[in-house]
């Protein structure tokens, strides 16, 4: 068999290949129900969070004392609360706060978890130290730990982010660490080391990028957890101080008047649930897309 010696246009081949891959990826994404629905829900909520407040004339704290406890109506889709504030407006502003905290926690915990996880997987002594601490943090119910931290730090949005990030980081660190450990054993790492690459290079250029798919999936679930924990903290009065309309605060207000005004509980509650459903779906879909092996079990 003779090898043809014509010039094969490598660029054309490469771009044709890329096009093919993109088509396949597109198809995989579109047929992934979880991913699409989850994404739509999250995108919707994010848009509401970002642009909702701009479209609304008044301020979430505008009180209309004559109109307290108004049931849902054309004027007030979600009704009004104990101070006459429009619940819908508060929920929309609350989206900004609660989802904002969720995103912040997801990002911070991801970065911290990535660093902790990767370095733990690489250096044994660091591993022992960091993993013991992680075990300690995870051994304790997250909400209670966050509560204790909030008590120590004081009730502010930024502290909520810090507290919840601390609680969330070990989970990401674990996931990254176990991926990294598996990757470390693979031959391509050995080969790279044989080429003389430094530890830092191996870690950041080769191992870390391969842990990203698991990390992103985990981060999505952390986002969801963060929303829940923030809501719980605010509900208990240990989170963002009122009158800021975080979803947890609205629920907290609603709890006292649950007999009189069910809408103060129902609508923010539905919104939170919707957000979590969206995130769970997205995370599941993402997991299927990025790592089909793990999905076989849950499908």
């Amino acid at each position: 068999m003779t090898i043809s010696s014509e010039n094969i246009d490598l660029h054309a081949v490469k771009s044709a290949l890329k096009k093919e891959q993109n088509k396949i990826l597109f198809r995989q994404i579109m047929t992934n129900g979880s991913l699409v629905v989850g994404f739509v829900i999250i995108a919707f909520l994010m848009l509401v969070a970002l642009f909702g407040p701009l479209l609304i004339a008044h301020d979430p704290n505008t009180m209309d004392v004559l109109n307290r406890f108004a049931a849902p109506s054309a004027d007030h889709w979600f009704g009004t609360d104990n101070l006459g504030r429009d619940v819908l407006v508060r929920v929309i502003y609350g989206a900004r706060i609660s989802m904002g905290i969720g995103v912040a926690v997801a990002i911070i915990a991801s970065m911290a978890g990535l660093i902790v996880g990767i370095y733990s997987s690489y250096y044994k002594w660091l591993d022992h130290l960091l993993m013991r601490i992680s075990d300690g943090i995870m051994a304790f119910p997250g909400l209670l730990l966050a509560l204790a931290l909030m008590a120590a730090l004081g009730g502010r949005a930024s502290n909520v982010v810090i507290a919840v990030s601390i609680v969330a980081t070990p989970y990401i660190a674990r996931v990254v660490r176990s991926e990294a450990l598996a990757l470390k054993e693979q031959t391509f790492v050995e080969a790279t080391r044989a080429l003389g690459a430094s530890d830092t290079r191996i870690i950041w250029r080769h191992i870390a990028p391969n842990t990203l798919s698991s990390l992103i999936v985990q981060a999505t679930f952390i986002f969801a957890e963060a929303i829940i924990v923030e809501a719980a903290l605010s509900f208990l009065g240990a989170g963002i101080p009122p009158p800021a309309p975080s979803w947890g605060n609205i629920l907290s207000d609603g709890k006292t008047y649950i007999y009189k005004a069910w809408w103060m509980t129902f609508f923010p509650g539905m919104t939170i649930t919707l957000a979590i459903i969206g995130l769970n779906l997205f995370g599941d879909g993402l997991r299927d897309l990025l790592d089909p092996h793990s999905s076989k079990a849950t499908k």
């Binding site: 209670l144 008590a151 069910w262 079990a297």
Partner: protein
């Protein structure tokens, strides 16, 4: 088997140590002086100082820490700053409700989840399967405190079937006791039911693909027995892990649910303790919770050994 257990117990000690250390120092960082809170705003500076000396709050942190640790090892967790009892008494008296709640929640979770998970696995891809998965998604997504509020709205406010809040100990009668625990147990248990159902389904699906299931069918075993005897026994291991983890998760979840339903359990104890800066209580309770955590983990491992002969035998060698 015994060496395995012993090693696990040993490994748990550093965890306990770290957790208690972390919490101790967090609490120390917390602004707010318990002495001041106890005596109230009108107390004089001297009175506050006296109380602080009494409670040993004026000693340097590390000394306070070692004192506490030393006492803890002796079994003395100190006195609550606010309540008139020792920490241990407080913990013990609050243990009952939490345990009842936890057990009831877990029972509800398992009773709902196992049959649904198995059903979904058997009818994979069908409408039944999809419905089960959809319900499980919903169950997992509603935060437990939210579900508590919804349940209260429906069952207590609208339909007036069950009490909104409160607690009656077992000594008051079984129904009285359970009456107050049903809603909170459902609120807690639903999320876990969702997780367990998912795990059950996926574990069953994996097992049903195994070769030994083919063999069982080839032997002429009736389908019912293929599922419940051959498949479930094998699928039970991962399911058990999830059940164990869920029980642990319940410990953390009880805090807010207990607060909403006014159930005097450990969760509520800790929440109140943190809010009131009752350091002694919080530290003691944290230690207890962590210890329970470790203990339950161990129990699950032991159960694992019983269910899976391979684990048992390997450790014999």
């Amino acid at each position: 088997m015994k060496t395995y257990l012993f090693k696990r117990l040993l490994a748990a000690i550093p965890v306990l140590f770290i957790v208690s250390t972390i919490v101790f120092f967090i609490l120390q960082l917390t602004p707010g002086d318990p002495a001041l809170v106890i005596l109230g705003q009108e107390a004089t500076v001297d009175e506050v100082e006296d109380l602080r000396q009494q409670l040993k709050l004026d000693r340097p942190i590390y000394e306070q820490y070692f004192n506490w640790l030393f006492n803890a090892l002796k079994g003395d967790l100190g006195e609550s700053y606010f309540m008139n009892e020792s920490v241990i008494e407080a913990i013990l008296s609050h243990l009952g409700p939490t345990i009842s709640l936890g057990i009831l929640a877990e029972i509800i979770a398992i009773t709902l989840a196992l049959p649904l998970g198995i059903l979904a696995a058997r009818r994979k891809g069908s409408v039944t399967d999809q419905s089960v998965m959809a319900f499980s998604l919903l169950g997992m997504s509603i935060p437990n405190f939210l579900l508590s509020l919804f349940l209260i709205l429906v069952f207590s406010v609208s339909w007036r079937l069950l009490p909104v809040a409160g607690y009656a100990p077992l000594s008051d009668g079984l129904w009285e006791h359970i009456k107050f625990l049903i809603l909170p147990a459902f609120a807690l248990g639903t999320a876990h039911a969702a997780l367990i159902a998912r795990m059950t389904r996926s574990a069953m699906l994996e097992v049903l693909n195994a070769n030994y299931i083919k063999t069982a069918r080839a032997k002429g075993v009736k389908e019912k027995w293929v599922i419940y005897k051959h498949a479930l026994r094998n699928a039970f291991l991962p399911i058990l892990t999830v059940i164990g983890q869920s029980f642990l998760g319940l410990m953390g979840g009880t805090a807010i649910v207990e607060t909403i339903f006014a159930i005097p359990g450990i969760g509520q104890l800790i929440v109140n303790g943190v809010m009131r800066r009752d350091y002694a209580i919080v530290q003691g309770a944290v230690l207890y919770v962590t210890f329970a955590f470790v203990f339950i983990n161990l129990a699950v491992d032991m159960l694992y050994g019983i269910v899976n002969p391979q684990v048992r035998l390997d450790s014999k060698k």
